[in-house]
Amino acid sequence: MAIDTLDRTAKRIVLTVQDYSLFAARAFMNLWTEPRYWPEFLVQSDIVGFGSASIVLLSGFFTGGVLALQSAATLSQFGATAVTGQFVSITMIRELGPVLTGIMVAGRNASSMASELGSMVVTEQIDAMRALGVDPMRKLVTPRIFACISMLFFLTIVADAFGLLGGGAVTVVLNHQDGTQYFSKAWECLRYPDIIQGLVKPLFSGYIIASIGCFYGMRTTGGTQGVGRSTISAVVTASVLIILVDFLLTRVLLAIFPPL
């Protein structure tokens, strides 16, 4: 009995992974062939980019602030509070900026994509679209994926910048240190590989957020309850995958750009 349950669960997981791979690959390939829906891309870019800007800059600012607080407390034991800027800068740009932005955007947009498309599925709007001769993958999924990839790139830059500002504000106002020293250290320590690391990750996170959100939305079954289930699955899966892929990417990027 238990073996049967395990067997069924394993098959279901493998089947879901297979379905997702085909779905994500098809959505990606659609960009290279006609028809393309640029107005949809712009609308989604506005929703993902401008719509998420406030939460991203706030979370970036306070994360930078917390980093400065924590690092200054530890670094003061070694008389090295001068390198707070370096610590905040490297941590935000390499790691926390991309990951936190990805998770914040996943919470906001993977859920909205899953619930929006899920509602369209249960009210037969997706079938109606297909019946009208329009491919929902091209019209709904592909623009969301590319809007999310491009916007997450810029949102990560916003999060990084506000993280540095937050760290700077804490350094000057709460830690009573020199702001010029903080920003000069933060700038001097940065190398191109750090920036490349920080800006490659959001490209993958953006793809994960939109493809997972759309995937769970498009396979919604079971009415409004099903929409709720899809939304939860989309946010949880996207958040976990972002962290998992971040780990793998960090491993690869550190191998390509070894630390000095």
Partner: protein, 286 residues
């Protein structure tokens, strides 16, 4: 089969210049031994029938018997497990989705609850296909107003679906299905859940499309009165309303199919339906 006044005397109903036909002039839709199941017992088994040019087929059966599934199979929205389906003479059972899209633009489909896009206005809903084809705006507006006039809802042009009643939504869905002059119409319970007056309005629109444009159609319903009204009336364009056919006369191009537990148990005219010896048919009619 009984004769219509149309067959007995000159046809008073204007017929569209482009009478729809399948590529080879044969049936528009053909089902051959079609079966489908979803994680359980078969929903449809060994279904075979066809829809000829200018023919209206009414699919009867109790709720949950697979009527909507059959309609979606006819449009390639679902794939059969077994058997073959021909749409406009082309086998669609295994046709790739990309090739199905152009074929579907020739079919108008009215969904059970209308399935209007709730983020778009009535104008954009009705014009959905035209917008996708890049038709100029002024042409779109003119054609949408014409389609909305057909369903007598011209005033809803700029409204959103959320501000429409259930019956109005169905009528907008019908306008959306009609706007490109489809070669086949599929109606999924267009009167389901509506009050009798609104149902009659919808059936009148279905009849208007049947008699004015001679569009072949497949109509799913579990309401016998709608089915009988379609058989016993014709649309009079001069009076702009449906009028009853003479007593004992029925529309010869309107025929019936009946499903029971996923199987097709009846295929014939109204006369044959009323005189069927099948126990389930008798129970359904009573």
């Amino acid at each position: 089969m009984m004769e219509t006044p149309a067959a007995a005397q000159p046809d008073p109903i204007p017929v569209s210049a482009s009478v729809p036909e399948a590529a080879d002039g044969g049936p528009v839709v053909v089902f051959r031994n079609v079966s489908i199941a979803f994680d359980g017992p078969p929903v449809l088994q060994e279904i075979s029938f066809s829809v000829a040019s200018a023919e209206t087929r009414i699919l009867l059966g109790p709720a949950g018997v697979g009527k909507s599934v059959l309609l979606k199979l006819a449009n390639g929205l679902l794939r059969p497990d077994e058997g073959s389906i021909l749409l406009f003479g082309q086998e669609i059972s295994h046709m790739p989705e990309e090739k199905l899209f152009p074929l579907r633009t020739r079919v108008g489909m009215v969904f059970q609850e209308g399935a209007l896009f709730d983020s778009l206005t009535v104008r954009d809903n009705v014009a959905y296909q035209l917008i996708a084809e890049g038709v100029p705006d002024h042409q779109i507006d003119r054609r949408v107003r014409k389609a909305l006039r057909f369903v007598e809802l011209e005033d809803t042009f700029s409204l959103y679906p959320s501000s429409l009643s259930g019956g109005m939504k169905r009528r907008v869905a019908i306008a959306r299905a009609f706007i490109r002059k489809p070669e086949l119409l599929l109606y999924d319970s267009p009167t389901g859940g509506l009050d009798p007056v609104t149902s009659t309005t919808i059936i009148e629109l279905v009849m208007k499309e049947r008699d004015v444009y001679r569009t072949p159609s497949l109509l799913v319903t579990h309401r016998l009165q709608d089915a009988f009204t379609l058989c016993s009336h014709r649309f009079d364009l001069e009076q702009n309303r449906m009028v009853p056919l003479p007593k004992g006369v029925t529309d010869p191009n309107t025929t019936f199919l009946m499903l029971e537990e996923g199987r097709l148990i009846f295929d014939g005219s109204l006369h044959e339906l009323l005189h069927s010896e099948n126990r389930f048919v008798r129970e359904f009619l009573e």
